[in-house]
Subunit: 348 residues, 2 copies
């Protein structure tokens, strides 16, 4: 239901170590009214990602940090409620970083930060536009295809493979003919990867001591070595992957979730020298850099979903009030699939 | 003078920490006699490099380690003394990994590991074929041009800039229109880089504490940030460089000399996350991978030398007996220019 007020969560404190619910402050404001050239959108779905932790920090990141007291940043699918801009009509669906709030007012200049959503690609699946057909899917797609450059027959290891991005990477890699190995933190997640998503092998990394034991587990799962390591986590799994890389391996660096909550400086991989020895390419990337190519990637992913080649799992949580504690679940690894907060009803 | 015996240094022990002279064993053998298809070469110049430390170790490297008891590996310029192979004539000059010894016998199959040297490119400068016109020059060339992809106006930071490779990288980068900044460990080396080689700025890294102080020094020397960090050393300078990288920076990973003597596992850079944040590409490379393209690179470097665009500094040390202690100097940083051991006289 649309709210009569604009509920918001604002950043109240920069997290020290793990994110806490008290790092956010709830606030109610009047729903703004658009002036000439402006549009008012109602946010329907809000996406939660590990990268929120980076935005909350004041460390040097790939975007400016969220300012203390500002509405928390977040990607939404939204509907235009009222338009005084000829390029938008009431009922248009858009996607953008419109924040943890019910309503967002966009000036004419700011509309360049949103893009229209073609809901007909996958009818009746609007939340998917924040997952496989949105930032998540595009992150997997461009990180794997453009940065990883997979070739049929190669072995790819994916960390956080049951996560939103990792599970997409694995399925796209299967579609390109790779042997796909994933790490996850529970046996349930590992079973899901193998039995539902078609991964060739999985590693429940929590069963192994970091170091030689984890390296041996990776070696067993990747008997032909690793050609691509798609890194979402950094830390001990990165080191284990580096111990098993083949010549000319590629490491698309998508995330370092194991380090985000650390209060101390985190050392890089102890096996860093392998990058030299094996002529490895480690390459950071940010999905926003590929923005002009999103529509083409999304159309291809939609086709794969319709053909049954790609499955996805979303955990839809109702109510903005649940956003802070849902974000915590991502770092605890207790979510099943990508978490999306439902803020209000889809247009009728 | 040619020796009547074949003097050799063999690997006697794998170094623990720093290389010691006693890690090598001196030995005299009979000079071998070539059979059908074989050639006997007399080694004239022997090149010493930091990478010897990797070859002496039994850690996973980019080549198999030198076996204990085997002749120590090393790149030489050699002359064919006796040929029973129609493709080689007495007096031909060749370059190859022919070892720390006076003479090397090459079977027909092994001749693929040597290449003929065209001494007319830079007449009268035979040692240069182990430096700027050899592995050193090609390492700088392919690491900078192919991996670093410099563009005019960009800032490049080079560690161990007064070293054999670093000093070449800086001069080639100047030729491509980059702003060139180098780190070195003495004021004398820094002066040489600026006054003789035309570096724009230098940093005597030993004057700064690793961490914030060194980062500040790099930031002052690179006010527009770093577009390419050509890494020869790893460690604290790598971390300082990562703290100042621009978006889409490239880090050709050529060497990690600061770590080679370590007995403990060495952590990777604490600023590893910058690779993600700034979409950096870190790429290891080995000059041998570019072997088919060496002749073209060498011809271009020879032209630059003749045009006065590239200067180089070689420290020629006479006598095989001085090879072990000369290698130690590289790790102490007390050499002035690339060290080349003269084993015997050039052909008359």
């Amino acid at each position: 239901m649309p709210q009569r007020v604009n509920r918001q969560f604002r950043l109240a404190a920069r997290p020290v170590g793990e994110v806490k619910e008290t790092d956010f402050a709830y606030r109610e404001e009047l729903i703004p009214t658009p002036k000439d050239g402006e549009i008012l959108v109602r946010n329907i779905y809000l996406s939660l990602e590990p990268t929120h932790r980076i935005w909350m920090s004041d460390r040097d990141g790939y975007m400016p940090p969220v300012e203390l007291g500002a509405v928390m940043r977040g990607m939404t699918i939204s509907v235009v409620e009222e338009s005084k801009n000829p390029e938008y009509q009431q009922g248009d669906l858009v996607r953008g970083l419109l924040g943890w709030q019910d309503y967002t007012l966009l000036t004419a200049a700011n509309t360049r930060f949103v893009s229209k959503v073609d809901a007909s690609l996958l009818p009746g699946k609007l939340p998917a536009y924040l997952g496989p057909l949105g930032m998540t899917g595009c992150t997997a797609y461009f990180g794997l295809i453009d940065v990883g450059q997979p070739k049929a027959g190669e072995t790819i290891l994916i960390s956080a493979a049951a996560g939103a991005v990792g599970s997409m990477v694995g399925q796209i890699a299967k579609a390109t003919g790779c042997r796909v190995v994933g790490t996850a933190g529970t046996d349930e997640k590992c079973s899901w990867l193998k039995e539902e998503l078609g991964f060739d092998e999985t590693i429940n990394y929590k069963k192994y001591q970091p170091g030689a034991e984890l390296e041996a587990a990776v070696a067993r799962a990747c008997p032909n070595g690793i050609d691509i390591y798609f890194d979402n986590v950094g830390g001990a799994i990165l080191d284990a992957a580096l111990s098993q890389v083949n010549l000319y391996a590629r490491i698309p660096l998508c995330g370092l979730i194991s380090t985000y909550n650390s209060q101390e400086p985190v050392p890089g991989p102890y096996n860093y020298s392998q990058i030299m020895m094996k002529r490895v390419r480690v390459q950071g990337f940010i999905v926003g850099d590929y923005y002009p190519r999103w529509p083409k990637a999304i159309a291809e992913i939609a086709r794969w979903i319709k053909e049954g080649k790609i499955k996805y799992s979303l955990e839809i949580v109702k109510g903005l009030e649940n956003a802070p504690r849902s974000l915590l679940k991502i770092f605890q690894g207790t979510n099943q699939g990508k978490i999306i907060i439902k803020l209000s009803d889809e247009p009728g």
